[in-house]
Symmetry: C2
Subunit: 295 residues, 2 copies
């Protein structure tokens, strides 16, 4: 199967499930439900759910879209939490982004107050969905993995350090912390969730979790590099945003060449972690997709 | 046991448990953990956890603080969700309150961005705590009850309608919706959670849930009345805030006398729902506390 086909088909079933789980826009209070749908159905790449599907399909050893039925609730929960974090990140007091994925940010479109509540409601909805998983052990395990990934020791912690570091001189360790937590924690959760549902051995789960952390870090470094030297087309947003926001980036801290080397090493490490696993082709594709963005 | 003694002792064990569950303020990222603790340990009345304890102790037929040990996680989850909602409500784009419980609001003290994240983190923590309940059926049931109470069909929905109604003419049904959802939903959850943990019959849970909804609505009406005619001492905040914010209140919609009658009727209805239950003294006290605030 072509990789484009793989991504496309998984995206379709995910978006169908998201549509099923979210309240319709005409349900009272309409503006809140509209805001939630507006942000969830913007042009997201759905990387977290697709990484989650790909991990599960590697573990069961076949690509079969019908086998993903029971994974849909968890896949949606991942995407809802990610969307919530983007809505809150875009707020004026946080990253102050007026646009996201080529459309107005949630708070520009619906107002700040509704955007704050839409984020809260998406987090709540994500957990609600996970409680519906039939196997209660798995349900609770999934909730534990997701809340750990979101917590002050995960995504929210990374975002907090990011905010507090703005306009300050920070070192490479702090920058690494921000990216590992802000981006890495939820990617790691995506792979750990697949392991829990499949029933993988703990070793496998740890290895794949590390793969996800490396991948997330590499992605961020490449993003930083493109912000320096890239174009709108590659980046999907106006380059130079980080330096305009006085944000520390890898190139600003260690230079362009060293940043490239670091990204390449992380991608190599990621590859090495999974190279001996069977049916690893889609995961390898994730590594290659990031490598291909490197200028 | 004197009722003051009852409230005080339950408050003490709750606050000890909250202290145990929250990360210490010197844990990285410190400012985020500090902000969470600052808001949780402001002078809250802890009404939701105490209502939850009181319901459970009524059901088991004895007041015994040692029997509350296994309820502490759920009691803390209730208080953390309530605190998160207050932090987000106080934000400039929402209710724009600079003070809360006689101290600066979270966003005034720590900045808006940290306040938004502190709210997110408290919601996440509340769920995390509930996953630790040993009995997995009860754990999942509790998470379901709490997320339903928080959802767009509960607390968050009520808050959304409240925001969207500001500076607009609304009718009494909309105002009732706001209060039932914004305040009632979490009080109802407090009593339903006690029922689930005790293993009460569904009928009992429904009756007590309705008791909580009536109580919440009565509380809000009395608050509205005091905002018209009360003093700082009774209200705990500067009176007249609602009319300054152009907020619809019961007195502004149906007049002072009718508002009083409505509150009295709701309190009578609440009393009638529980008057035949054994060991109902603390719950009756909740009704009386609100009655006593009526001018």
């Amino acid at each position: 199967m072509l990789i484009q086909e793989y991504f496309k088909t998984r995206k379709v079933i995910l978006e169908k499930a998201l549509d099923k789980y979210l309240a319709p826009s005409d349900e009272y209070p309409q503006q809140l439900h509209e805001a939630m749908r507006y942000s969830v159905f913007s042009e997201g790449k759905r990387l977290r759910p697709i990484l989650f599907f790909a991990t599960y399909e590697m573990l069961i050893g076949r690509k079969n879209i019908n086998r993903l039925e029971r994974l849909l609730s968890t896949a949606c929960a991942l995407e809802l939490v990610h969307t919530a974090s983007l809505i809150h990140d875009d707020l004026p007091s946080v990253d102050n982004s007026r646009e996201r994925r080529g459309q107005l940010s949630c708070h520009i479109k619906f107002g700040e107050a509704t955007a704050i509540l839409a984020g809260d409601a998406l987090i709540t909805k994500a957990i609600e969905i996970l409680t519906e998983i039939k196997n209660k052990n798995i349900s609770l395990n999934c909730i534990q993995i997701l809340t750990k990934a979101m917590s002050t020791r995960g995504m929210i912690g990374g975002q907090a350090v990011d905010i507090l570091s703005a306009k300050k001189k920070i070192n490479i360790n702090t920058l690494r912390y921000i990216h590992l937590k802000k981006t890495g924690a939820l990617l790691q959760a995506a792979m750990e969730l697949a392991c829990i549902i499949y029933g993988a051995e703990e070793n496998t789960s740890i290895t794949l979790g590390n793969f996800a952390l490396n991948l997330g870090l590499a992605y961020q470094i490449v993003d930083d590099i493109l912000d320096e030297v890239g174009s709108f087309d590659i980046l999907g947003k106006e380059p130079g945003g980080d330096s305009r926001n006085n944000k520390a980036t890898y190139p600003s801290l260690i230079g362009l060449e060293k940043s490239k080397k670091m990204a390449e090493k992380l991608l190599r490490d990621s590859y090495n972690l999974i190279k001996n696993m069977k049916n690893n082709d889609v995961l390898i594709e994730f590594v290659n997709m990031i490598k291909d963005r490197l200028p």
